[in-house]
């Protein structure tokens, strides 16, 4: 039935899209056996069915160019050399096709030439419609405008959840959602209006989270999937600057522990196994079913003198959400290099993490790469498809477990950009593509980094003004330590 419908509709649709654009494929051209030089590189990528158009441009100086996107009898023509693909045409292509053939025609003097076509594969696996990130300059000590933003992946709309222009130009960081639920979010503000902010649908709660028993206010969060608990690290964080090292900046902990916060009781608790005097513990993350708490731990070192000797392993401890009790033993899952940011796929099959030679802040480590363990058999997966020679770091799973979004500095070595890659059920990834932007030049002219990408299943509805009012006007609730 669907096939018949397509047969009837597609010729008319193709005609419509072509005519509407008044763009034509040149009547004569020379076929060349090479691919066009394009930016961003979207050739041979796999994209979700519901992704925004993957606009791109030709990097060679060209006066006139035409892009033809074709499949299943549909043809979308776009004028170049910077291709702004019409969203309706793109939606037709992605909804009806599995492989989109993209061919670029360029005017070469008085004649035209056609490059070899490349393919964009469309996966039927949808991606969560939103991703939240922080935008901040990849700097040393200062910042100017910082904000937490949500981006609709189905189009190019970016909206602010909160910008620091409304809260005294303070620092804000470390956002996390309960199982990608946009109605349950946590993040911090530092300095003026400092506090931890819990968003529960449209309600905003401000917390003062330093207790006498913890070494700092709450820092790196991960929600328990049921939304009742949030695991945090508490850290004594410092940074130093390198003189010659290509990594530029070193961020390290001199102390750190892991605690669990009870959202309903305003209490924080832990275990001696997560607060050892002679170990650093950080980056907690619950398993998909909420029955285990993963975290990263290293023997404590004298800092900063021994910063290059710190190696974090990924460990786990049982957690009973019914009684909020932690297990009596710690298991080590991965112990090679320094492994941080353990994240279990929602289906429970895989754990992705970041590995670097040492330390706990891999966004400043050129060697940082994504790694993955198949939790069903403990096998280490091949991740060469998505890693790059530069930093590849913070990552987030889609609800379907079929997509990951991750941070990388592969473009220029400094400004963090987001990349999306598809994973099949066996843990095989496809070539990643950069978070699409309407203007292909956006990333080149954008001077902030995208930090901490987190998928959500919908849009955060809390109003920016409500968050700002809470930040500025609310003294905040003190949390308690639970023995």
């Amino acid at each position: 039935m669907i096939h018949r419908l397509k047969t009837i509709l597609l010729p008319a649709l193709a005609l419509c899209i072509t005519a509407a654009c008044s763009v034509k494929i040149p009547s004569s051209y020379t076929q060349v056996d090479e691919l066009p030089h394009i930016y961003p590189d979207i050739a041979k990528t796999t994209v979700p069915v519901n992704i925004a158009p993957l606009n791109f441009k030709l990097t060679d100086a060209v006066e006139k160019a035409v892009l033809s996107l074709e499949c299943e009898g549909i043809q979308v023509l776009v004028k170049g050399p910077s291709f702004d693909i019409p969203s309706d045409g793109w939606k037709d292509l992605t909804s009806l096709c599995r492989d989109i053939s993209a061919r670029v025609y360029v005017q070469d003097g008085k004649s035209w030439k056609a490059y070899s076509a490349f393919t964009i594969h469309v996966s039927p696996d949808p991606i969560d419609p939103y991703v939240t990130y922080r935008l901040i300059e990849p700097g040393y000590e200062t910042w100017n405008g910082i904000g937490l933003y949500q981006r609709c992946l189905e189009d190019f709309t970016q909206t602010a959840i909160i910008e620091n222009s409304k809260t005294g130009t303070n620092c804000m960081n470390c956002h996390s959602f309960a199982d990608r639920n946009p109605e349950k979010m946590v993040f911090h503000m530092r300095g003026q209006n400092g506090g931890t902010y819990i968003i529960d649908r449209d309600k905003v709660e401000k917390l003062n989270t330093k207790t006498p028993q913890t070494i700092s206010a709450l820092v790196y969060p991960q929600w328990h999937p049921d939304g009742r608990y949030i695991a945090f690290s508490v850290n004594d964080i410092s940074q130093v600057f390198h003189s010659t090292d290509r990594n530029r900046i070193e961020v390290y902990d001199s102390m750190s522990d892991v605690v669990i916060y009870d959202v309903e009781r305003h209490e924080v608790m832990s275990s001696p196994l997560l607060m050892s005097e002679d170990r650093f513990e950080t980056y907690p993350s619950f398993s998909h079913d909420g029955m285990k708490l993963y975290f990263c731990t290293s023997p404590a070192r004298q800092m900063p003198e021994e910063f290059k000797s710190v190696r974090y392993s990924i460990c786990s401890i049982d957690f009973d959400p019914e009684t909020a009790t932690l297990g009596a033993k710690v298991d080590t899952l991965y112990s090679h290099g320094s492994a941080v940011f353990p994240r279990v796929s929602p289906d429970g099959r895989f754990m992705m993490f970041t590995e670097t030679a040492y330390g706990c802040f891999p966004i400043w480590h050129k060697d940082a790469e994504l790694r993955m363990i198949d939790l069903s058999d403990g096998a280490i997966c091949d991740m060469s498809c998505i890693n790059s020679p530069d930093v590849d770091s913070y990552h987030s799973w889609s609800s379907s477990s079929r997509w990951v979004i991750f941070s990388s500095r592969r473009e220029d070595g400094l400004y963090t950009r987001l990349y999306i890659s598809h994973m099949d059920k066996d843990g095989n990834f496809t070539k990643p593509f950069m978070l699409p932007q309407r203007d292909p030049d956006f990333s080149i002219g954008f001077f902030k980094s995208f930090n901490i990408p987190e998928f959500t299943r919908g849009k955060v509805v809390a109003q920016e003004d409500a968050i700002a009012r809470c930040a500025v006007g609310d003294k905040g609730t003190d949390i308690r330590w639970k023995d």
Partner: protein, 307 residues
């Protein structure tokens, strides 16, 4: 005196928007910066003194003539970074002159981030230079592209393209190659080495970089840290970095001779300089005019001790 080269060269495109001392500074017209420097009597403006000292350093005259002007301690050589970022560009220039490329880059970045609207073009230019020096060509190109958007900075930005991924071109450029040679082979962090140790590392890496040795020695003198200055002479006098002592260093060596008889002779201080110092000592406490010593280091010490 050794010849020094123009070292900033990024801001020339921006001078049309400046006037007075700013204009001379941006144009790297060091003679004019020095000529237009005005001592403001009781008020101490560290940034202004630091600009004067930078101009002297760029001419290779810091250790020769610094005390011809009223100095205000090491804060007049390297002012404290103000959190609002107002003097970040100056600090980036000073660190660049010292050969401390990573800190110059850091201050340029911090200053650009704090630019009230868009970018600070001079600091973007510094980011181009420092990233070229470090071989971080991709991000250098990002800044070049941004500077190419503005007609005022386009020509300069385009001129930097020849260095992208071209180590040979950098090696043939007097400024970039000299600065690249200032990068110590062994990495250290800001937590491990303070500024003076960092400067020592730079001097050892590139003893020909005159500004580094002049800044380091002058830093000790302005802080009146004679023990450190003595160690500095022990380490560097007679080496390629400091084959002979400039005036301020000679005068300080005379003062060291008060504690170690005849020391001045061991570091090549002239008879005339030492005689001048002895005259100064004889007049101390006599009520006789000291005016003719006003441009000496020992006068600076006397004045500092009397305040």
């Amino acid at each position: 005196m050794r010849k020094t080269f123009t070292i900033i060269s990024t801001a020339a495109v921006l001078i049309s928007s400046c006037s007075g001392p700013d204009r001379a500074f941006m144009a790297e017209d060091w003679d004019r910066v020095i000529a237009e420097y005005a001592d403001d009597g009781e008020n101490v403006y560290y940034d202004r003194i630091a600009r004067l000292n930078l101009a002297l350093a760029q001419k290779g005259e810091l250790a020769e003539k610094a005390f011809s002007y009223t100095q205000a301690g090491s804060a007049g050589l390297l002012p404290e970074w103000s959190p609002d970022g107002e003097n970040g560009a100056l600090l980036s220039d000073i660190y660049f002159a010292m050969g401390y490329v990573s800190l110059s880059q850091r201050m340029a970045f911090e200053t650009d981030v704090l630019a009230p609207e868009g970018h600070n073009p001079a600091m973007l230019a510094r980011l181009v230079q420092t990233n070229l020096i470090f071989g971080a060509y991709k991000v250098a190109e990002k800044y070049i592209i941004e500077l190419e958007k503005d007609p005022a900075t386009r020509a300069w930005a385009q001129s930097q393209r020849r260095f992208l991924s071209n180590d040979a071109a950098i090696e043939n450029d007097p400024l970039l190659s000299s600065m690249r040679r200032c990068i110590p082979e062994e990495n250290f962090t800001s937590g491990e080495l303070g500024l003076t140790d960092a400067l020592r590392a730079i001097i050892k890496t590139n003893p020909k970089h005159r500004q580094a040795i002049e800044y380091l020695g002058t830093l000790y003198l302005l802080d009146m840290d004679f023990e450190a200055f003595r160690a500095f002479l022990d380490e560097f006098y007679g080496t390629e970095a400091l084959p002979e002592l400039p005036r301020a260093f000679s005068e300080a060596a005379c003062m060291l001779s008060e504690m170690e008889h005849g020391y001045w002779k061991t570091v090549g201080v002239s008879q005339e300089t030492y005689r001048n110092f002895r005259d100064f000592v004889k007049r101390l406490g006599t009520g006789l005019s000291m005016d003719r010593f006003e441009d000496t280091y020992f006068y600076y010490v006397m004045r500092a001790n009397s305040q």
